[in-house]
Amino acid sequence: MRRLLLLSVLVYLLLILGLASGNGGIIALSIPLVIYLTATLLYAPESLQLQVIRTLSADRVSQGTLVDVRVSITNLGSHLEEVLLEDVVPNALEMIEGIPRALTEMTPGQTILLEYTVRGVRGRHVFEEVKVRASDRLGLFHREASYHAPTQLTVLPHVTWLRRVEIRPLQTRGYAGPVPARIGGSGVDFFGVREYQVGDPMRWINWRLSARHPHTFFANEFEQERIADVGLILDARLRSEVMINGQSLFEHAVHATASLANTFLNDGNRVGLLVYGRFLDWIFPGYGKIQRERILQGLAQAEPGDSMIFDNLDYIPTRFFPVRSQVVLVSPLWEEDLPILIRLKARGYQLLVISPDPVTFEAKTLGSDPTASLAIRITRLERTLLIRKAQHVGIQIVNWQVDKPFDHAIHASLGRRPHWYRAVGLGIRG
């Protein structure tokens, strides 16, 4: 447009100067410029009629996976002498290979392909539009259009496959599973002794006790193992986000939540998710692979956010989780959260807190300055005290230093000990 304006101004100036000075030569100088403008008028592109189709090699991928994008643009209109096609790529996607724009000429019916490869961070990325800018060969006259071809790419959080995570909710569901149910019956772990009943296997008879009571037989009881209700709460409050050198503590929390959800669902449990941040975003409890997909999709969209109402954990909707079920909170944990956790515990929920350690995470960047070292020491002491207070009231806490793999941290604290280890009474943790 500026070039068009410049040429117009020049033509006017030459005409006016030529007329004012009575010099035909100056007027003649404007002729090539007028011809240039006329050529633009003659060859200007007509209205744009394009068909845009965008396809992705996958619409849901895990972090780090490469996705091939293919945009097919077909000219349904007239000949376009010079056209710049550009696919607008979402900012959070990293271009790995290929170019999402091309300058070309398009004859009627011709199809141009834009092919490129991207890699994305966790989240939902929407490819919105393809921008088209057509012009004549001299590039003076432009027609622009945006073609909406919405395509969505979901990058799921990274999931670590964990071995069984031991939980002990006060109440379980009716179906067989891996969670000790605190009810006698058939199982693996010794639970108690009761009078022998018809139908009990002979190998259950406790011969030592029966020998002491000549007229009665006693049989061993084992702890039933069933599936449980597990409620996952991801703390997405802005205060729980710590960003250091482009690394986010919240991303570690999301990773932990995804890995736990995956493990609990694989064990057959009923799992729900609540993202507690700018607002409450929940996924109702469910089973199986579909629920796993729902939770991963939910976590893909989780973002830390600020809200005056949800600034503390007071508004956790407890009705979302069945009474006496297992609740797993993934949060760096703050001093003011403790009373709310104690209240949850008092209501009968079995609480497990996975706490990505913000102190160690941030301390790495503070160097060895004596003041900083002292500050780190004080903060670490405060955190240790907070964790001890929580453990004292019966809340299980995994203090995860995020530079170590999550599966190591979780198994060091919650892994199911071998039978012999539990048999000698070493497998019980607070």
């Binding site: 447009m1 500026r2 070039r3 068009l4 304006l5 410049l6 117009s8 020049l10 033509v11 006017y12 030459l14 005409l15 006016i16 100067l17 007329l19 000075s21 009575g22 010099n23 035909g24 030569g25 100056i26 007027i27 003649a28 100088l29 002729i31 090539p32 410029l33 007028v34 011809i35 240039y36 403008l37 006329t38 050529a39 633009t40 008028l41 060859y43 200007a44 002498e81 010079e82 710049l84 170019i99 724009r101 091309a102 300058l103 070309t104 000429e105 141009i112 800018r133 060969r137 001299l138 590039g139 003076l140 006259f141 432009h142 027609r143 622009e144 259009a145």
Partner: protein, 165 residues
Amino acid sequence: MTRKLWYVSLGCATSALLAGYALGESWIWALPILGFSALWLLGQRRGLKWVPSLGLLLFIGLAAIGLWLTLAPGLMLLGMIATLAAWDLENFLRRVEGAERVDHRNDLERRHLRRLLMVEGSGTLLAVAALSVDVNFGFGSALLLGLLAIVGLSRTIGFLRRESD
């Protein structure tokens, strides 16, 4: 190819104007011509977007002044035509080099050059014809024709501006 042609166009524009002013013994204008040419060259190297437009304005201004000083009209016209080519080619190169991917670049360049040659050729022919024909108008007729030209051009340019995005 296009890059070389751009150098040739700029060189041609500078030489034509320099020669025109030298033949008219107006040596004082040589310095601004060479200065503007150097500025354009430098602007192209540095990728300054405003330099070609300024160059076009200044070189055409110099050609107009040359005609007003009754210097060789053929050389002034040649300078002006070469300047227009240099301005066009630099803008074309910017579009091509800024696109990262250009499909059939050689074809695109060849077709662009053909269109430019056609436009500049017909422009030169008409301008030469206008310079060689001697028609005398009275003041009133000249004014009327001038006004008609301005109105016609305004309409054309207005149409182009409205339609162009």
